[in-house]
Symmetry: C2
Subunit: 268 residues, 2 copies
């Protein structure tokens, strides 16, 4: 059972995990260095615990203690209880959902292990997607629409970062994922595992998503590119198919999260 | 040609259109009352002008004057030029894209007029969607995926509000839309125009989206419900089909913007 600790001083050093949540640079350095991540909101906190991550500490408004009683009961971590205003002072802004928890990260699985499942396989590859909100939404789409795992390049935003886990509704914790050094390594691993890599793109020689679906590939990996420029030219040339979601002329492409939903649905 | 006006005082009353952009209550009241809306970012500003809205005023960092030269040339509105820091003082926060313009609203079209187009028709109905970001994303999806018009209930968020127009990439200005009093009026108008209303839902008796697509209805209206609870029970009972996007068990439903992308794509 987590120890409930009433905190009186917002500068209490035991609250270090929860400080200055909007200072992205600080958080990225802290969360990488100390191997922790932060979950916000009772639902997301619960999802992280249910997915087997070990809580380091909780920071809760009194009203959230009951709702998370079972999660607290299953943990030995301290649960710091603090008023709404004081939590805002620690976090650096007002939280709509005054329930936070920090968790230890786990080592990421091998790319080869993620691809080892025999038979039908659907992989999403995120190439240099830097927006945490988009990464979270894509994990949510992937979980809902039968994708087996997500693979990230080095520059893609951290799925366990607070904003990503929030937009994913906590699906980042249960969806298998890993990070690889670059597209070369990813493409090599995909081919070794008999997975057909395709890139979502606006290239002139692209086939349509319906044409791809009609091919009924058993094992597919979809590469989605960065929010602005899309998939890198080199990657486009190396995949087996460039694939286009047909759109109205004169309209910007779908945002990348919407494009993933359409792609996963059409080829599931 | 817009008059370029160098402003020296951030409290200049001529900047009223651009003040306190994050004060949602103030803005909603100001923008409704004075029949204006605000566009943020050079691209979105340009889209509003190209869609035929009349600019009231521009507020620009010096560096944006050249990029919007053609838009300014076509307008008689004043263009207030101000430094980055001063614009942040007026707007109440730091803008990533220091180009703003206010425009006059236009009267909304009749619902009947929107539905009058003969032949194939695709309508999105947004029932009480309160999140501006979602509304904007849905307009972007609608524009990209061949939807003809969007119909909003009274409580649905304003598509011309800054955050919505931004996530729509300016597609709110060119996509035909209107607002109706309630679902009763909307359903009556749809049936009168031979449009089949369906609701996206998780109801037990729902058909799948693929089953709907296979029916090849020529004229379809999709009702999407509020972010939390979905389509109202009463609406569910009144539409011709309840329609489900099949998802993995145990996963939350797609967010509503992703659901629209999948729906528009599967039935286009």
């Amino acid at each position: 059972m987590a120890r409930l600790v009433d905190v009186t001083d917002v500068n209490d050093p035991r609250l270090a995990d929860f400080r200055d949540l909007r200072d992205v640079d600080l958080r990225v350095s802290l969360e990488g260095e100390h191997g922790l991540f932060l979950a916000e909101g009772a639902k997301v906190v619960r999802r992280a615990a249910e997915a087997g991550f070990t809580p380091r500490a909780f920071l809760l408004q009194p009203k959230w203690v009951d709702g998370l009683a079972d999660v607290l009961a299953a943990s030995d971590a301290p649960a710091y209880v603090l008023g709404e205003k004081q939590i805002a002072e620690v976090a650096g802004f007002h939280l709509h959902r005054g329930a936070l928890a920090s968790f230890d990260r786990k080592p990421l699985p091998d790319l080869g292990t993620l691809l080892a499942k025999p038979g039908k396989l659907r992989i999403a590859v995120l190439e240099d997607l830097v927006d945490h909100g988009n990464v979270g939404l894509i994990f949510r789409n992937a979980a809902a629409l039968a994708v087996d795992a997500v693979v990230l390049t080095e520059r893609t935003a951290d799925p366990l970062y607070r904003r990503a886990s929030k937009t994913s509704m906590g699906n980042v914790y249960s969806m298998p994922w890993t990070r690889a050094r670059g597209m070369e390594d990813i493409l090599r691993a995909l081919r070794a595992a008999d997975v057909v890599p395709v890139a979502l793109t606006l290239a002139d020689d692209a086939i349509t998503l319906d044409e791809l679906a009609a091919m009924r590939h058993e094992r597919l990996a979809f590469v989605f590119g960065t929010e602005g420029a899309g998939v890198h030219k080199k990657t486009e040339q190396q995949v087996d198919h460039r694939v286009l979601i047909p759109m109205e002329p004169g309209v910007d492409s779908l945002n990348v999260a919407a494009a993933t939903a359409v792609t996963f649905y059409a080829t599931r």
